[in-house]
Amino acid sequence: MAVTDQQRRAYVASQAADARVNVELQTEDMILNIGPQHPATHGTLRVVANLDGEQVVWADVVCGYMHRGYEKLTEVRTYPQITTLVNRIDWLSSFANEVPFILAAEKLMEIEAPPRAQYIRTILFELARIANITLFIGTMGADLGAITPVFYAFRDRERVLNQIEAVTGGRFHPNFDRIGGLKDDLPRGWIDETKAVMNRVREFCDELEELLMGNEIFQARTRGIGVIPAEVGLSYGLSGANIRASGIDWDLRRDQDLPLAWKDLDWKVWTHPDGDSFARFWVRLQETREASKMVDQMLDGLPAGSIQAKVPRIIKVPAGEAWVHTENPLGEMGYYIVSQGGLGPFRCKIRSASFNNVSVLPWVLRGTYVPDIITILASLYFILGDIDR
């Protein structure tokens, strides 16, 4: 299925030939602005596409319509205040944004959260992943014209959000992670409820596998569309499911040693060799199911004990630099904190996954058709807040 380099070169050559014919026939290219206000960009991304008929000659991505200056804002906030900010980077999996930041701060302070806090962090992290990717599965269907999956996705995502809300008090922006631990313990009865919800999530995955992924039209629309070979994906800095769908077996949950629960669990990193839109969808669907199983395991093996390590009342982080990155739902997310010993960081560089993920678009959109632009945009899966920060 994968497009070879030779095929691609042949394609570009045929494009050039077409272009020459067009010069003779005096046809004009049309520049189509997809976005910043367009239903398929799920926000304010702008794709400038130069079209020959409905075929893309070249395309460019313009981002920054939603830039909120979070890196600068962190410099005038204290550490506990910053979690409120970073919640809003990838707003569909807010808790997952807090974790690497808190871990980076803890690394500088040389403290570690107690095991129970680590487990609850990981559970909420994976719940955020499920809430996020469930929505992707739905919107991918919506972008391809199937209107039903998105409603199923919202229905079942609601249950996951309810569980997050029961612990943190916030559906979207939990702001729950603290340096050295967590704000609160789990509420009573939450474990059993969550197990039921995880069962429902797996049913949802099975349902969507039949309704959407097994559909012939869906396969015809996604297979072989938007192929990103592994080396291209790596050179553009793709991460997360996008790079795993190109056959690179790279998952930061497994490949690094963080004080979180993943190392204790029995789970599998899913990869797909094709690198096309279908592979990206497939990998994400498998990851959702895998995440629900991980949550089940963690709920069974939840250690007892405190949820908060001893930290001073006023948190001052000693001078130094720390880099922590984690495998977020959208890909690699990391924080590089430079501290000069104050109440807040001197400088905080945020590496968010979507910015790099969309940077491959000009490369991958060349020669595709207008409907394929939408497929590729949907399958790369970005959150606008995660691109622009």
Partner: protein, 340 residues
């Protein structure tokens, strides 16, 4: 038998009023039953089940009021006359479709001898309106949508017509009324208990007809011209308020009309096997209505389930699968007609 004779002008006026009343009524019925309730049940949508209390009965009325309230915007660059005319052209095509559909032995606006031919011919008139809308909006998305619609409607006109040819060969007439009567009086291997609904012999034709009419209606999986996630709203992008409502009404009423034609051609139309004469005139509209609902449910079910084709896949589907299949269907039907 009650014989009523009216002067020509009075008859024409009554017929026009009836057809004019049927269009919004059918659009409302389908809109309410399928676009609101069935969709809400299938997709677990909460919204359309809430307004007004019982089962969300107020939803459609509220939608109608919303459309009427909206400002009528015509873009600066638009070709005003054509822009304003386009929705009407689309609606006229739907209007003409209702002329030939029989709802009873004598309940038909105009019993044309070439009824099927007429219906299929006027159903393709709408493409002119769609092209006008796409061109005059001065919007790239509208233009792409209009051109896609034109390509698609022309490609699917052919399987639509060819799917019907099998029925015409078997019934031996082009008149819709004649086809219904053929089905009513037909026999299955000498047994005339339920007549001969042509879906039994022309099942392939029925499937082809539904697929092609799905494309004629620009509904999923053939909704590229409107493709909300790609072309914003296709050729209707720049339309607001009442003009948009015209497109919406035309689409839903055409769905009703095509379902009625499918019911007439394949399911026996108004006929109930053991009912004849005036009773059939009274029962006919209800029987036809029930059959229309059945076919329309099928159409909307497919619409809610499938993703959308790409433009080239859609053309390939028409030319490589539907048309050869319908030609084979015609051939086999003709052979059987000659042999038996």
């Amino acid at each position: 038998m009650i014989a009523i004779s009216l002067p020509f002008w009075a008859e024409t006026t009554i017929k026009t009023v009836i057809v004019l009343a049927v269009i919004p009524a059918s659009a409302l019925t389908l809109g309410y039953v399928f676009l609101m309730k069935t969709m809400a049940h299938m997709q677990s949508r909460m919204g359309p089940m809430e307004p007004g209390g019982f089962h969300g009965w107020y939803q459609l009325i509220g939608d109608g009021i919303k459309f009427i309230q909206k400002e009528d915007i015509i873009p600066d660059q638009a070709d005003r006359a054509i822009f304003a005319l386009a929705p009407t052209v689309v609606l006229v095509s739907t209007f003409l479709l209702f002329v030939v559909i029989p709802a009873g032995p004598r309940l038909v606006v105009e019993n044309l001898d070439t009824g099927v031919f007429f219906a299929l011919a006027v159903s393709s008139l709408s493409v002119i309106g769609v092209l006008m809308a796409g061109w005059s909006s001065a919007n790239k998305y509208s233009l792409l949508g209009g051109l896609r619609a034109a390509g698609q409607l022309i490609a699917y006109e052919l399987p639509l017509v060819l799917a019907v040819v099998g029925v015409v060969i078997q019934a031996g007439t082009l008149s819709l009324q004649g086809i219904v009567e053929f089905q009513q009086h037909g026999e299955i291997f000498g047994w005339g208990g339920i007549g001969l609904p042509l879906i039994l012999t022309q099942f392939v034709g029925f499937v082809l007809f539904i697929a092609a009419s799905q494309a004629e209606l620009t509904q999923a999986p053939f909704d590229m011209p409107l493709a909300e996630s790609e072309l914003v709203a296709g050729y209707t992008t720049e339309y607001t308020g009442f003009r948009f409502l015209f497109f919406y009404m035309a689409e839903t009423a055409t769905a009703f009309a095509l379902a009625a034609i499918a019911a007439t051609l394949f399911l026996g139309g108004w006929s109930v096997p053991w009912v004849h004469g005036t009773t059939a005139d009274v029962l006919g509209p209800f029987v036809l209505g029930a059959k229309v609902m059945l076919v329309a449910f099928l159409i909307y079910w497919i619409r809610f389930t499938y993703p959308r084709f790409r433009e080239d896949q859609l053309q390939a589907f028409a030319w490589k699968y539907l048309i050869p299949l319908s030609l084979a269907n015609i051939l086999i039907t003709a052979v059987f007609k000659v042999v038996f």
